[in-house]
Amino acid sequence: MTPATFFFLLLLGLSLLLTRRAARRTRSAADFYTAGGQLPAWQNGLALAGDYLSAAAFLGAIGMYLGQGYDSLAYAVGTLAGWPLLMLLLADKLRTLGRYSVADVLALRFDDPRVRLMSIISSLTVTLFYLIVQLVGAGKLLQLLFGLPYLASVTLVVVLMVLQVGLGGMLATSWIQMLKAGLMLSCGLLLCAGVLQRFAYSPAALFATVRQLSHGQALLPGKALADPLDALSLGLGLSLGLLGLPHILMRFFTVADGRTARHSVGWATGLVGLFFLLNLFIGYGALVLVGPDARFHDAAGKLLGGSNMAALHLATLLGGPWLQACIAGVAFATILAVVAGLAMAGASTISHDLYALLLCRGKAEAAREWQLSRLATLALGVAAIVLSTLVQNLNIAFLIGLAFAIAASSNFPVLLLTLNWPRLSVRGALAAGYGGMLAALGLIITGPTIWVGMLGHAQPLFPYANPALFSVPLAFAAAWLGSWGNRQTTAGLDSAPDHQDRTAGPPQQ
């Protein structure tokens, strides 16, 4: 048995064991959606960090240090800014007012099916785009790591995802996120220590070597960050995108109260920040140790397996095949955990938001809703296999940008205004939700990534690659215009009669 197979089977067995234990403890819809709503802050913080740190944040970020140097750190700053914003603007109120999902909060404020439908469309779009990208990445990564064919790799991930979410619900998903986050941090510490050991534990010596090798270029922002408006738009999109991601937002319903929700974000901010700090040393370590090493490059000078393999090559260099296999196993666990978190968010949107809240107007039978959520997980899995297989050979990295842009431009403005602006009307909420979504979609399609890069036009209609600087203010303006002159504004949520912990009670209609 090769080291890679050993770690792969070990993590596979561990995830199935956790699923089995979680399935035994999942006995109601509340258990399924919120893991019983009693996770302690440190566990939920670890799971939040796990939900956020995808394979792109690990393998992708280290590959980016190798290719684009400092830009990778700029991405880390933008995404880390989202965590305090999440706590300051949303976490507390979301936990206090929601029950299973963000749609509960909207339903509490607006007894209007159109607002729920808008929230469902927006959440499902973000989740599905994110899921497709993760699955395509998973298929290609498992192909590279373990030599499995693409379809077999994707099917394996989806089968495990359906088992985890369908049987163990949020509890299994949370445990696997915690396991994966712990493993990622441990591997990050190992690689970081290995890199620093080569430089007598002196970061200054590492940076001096980077400066010497790249003539200082790798320590300064690259051409991708040269346009001020595009750079500002990227920063805004990275930070606000987090505040609209359904699989992150639904984590606030797994804790008992607003205080625990805040503490969870504190843990998550610290853990994500620590991981980004480790990535800094690992990434620059890969640049100076893997970059010039001919063993890791083909005849054309390209990195073997592509830039995503930089961390694995570094692991081989520092610790041999066992460390490389360990990192590969953690990459597999990362993919599995993020995909399960997304499936959980998608299933709850279908069974709770669409079926229970929209179609049954909040009067659905709990057992039937729970049953439907399992079927929804299966359906999402099948749809994700089909879609990810269809687009496997296209460059679909833009879908992540699109998911973030829609999350920042549609989900976030509607949620923020619903929680904080008493004058927001149904019309305003619809204008912000659909306006932000269409603006993000339109600006990305007409921007350089798709209009020039994929459709082959000479010039983009919209000159910037990142739309958030334009689409987010547009969504807020649409909300203001939609609510202007409308006398039938709803009361703010602070004046709702049931403004307290809603774990036990059904959502107000």
């Binding site: 700053v77 933008g78 800014a81 305090p84 300051l88 603007l89 940076f207 320590l219 300064l220 980004f276």
Partner: protein, 71 residues
């Protein structure tokens, strides 16, 4: 007396301003990030200071909310 500067919305504005200011600086004046402090490049020191700022604001808000009497 309560200090409004520590209210959630002000802190959120501070985080957003710091993040956008950083990206603006990267694009508008990257030469300001050349040089180093004790062997650490200025660009990296600035990014790490922002890490610390974001974490400190998170902790500050948690502490302030924990001290509030229950409603």
């Amino acid at each position: 007396m309560k200090c409004r500067l520590f209210s959630a919305h002000w802190l959120a504005l501070l985080v957003l301003a710091a993040c956008l200011g950083y990206f603006g600086l990267l694009a508008g004046a990257p030469r300001l990030l050349q040089g180093d402090i004790g062997g650490w490049p200025c660009s990296i020191v600035l990014a790490l200071l922002l890490f610390v700022l974001f974490f400190a604001i998170t902790l500050l808000h948690i502490r302030a909310e924990n001290r509030k009497p229950p409603a």
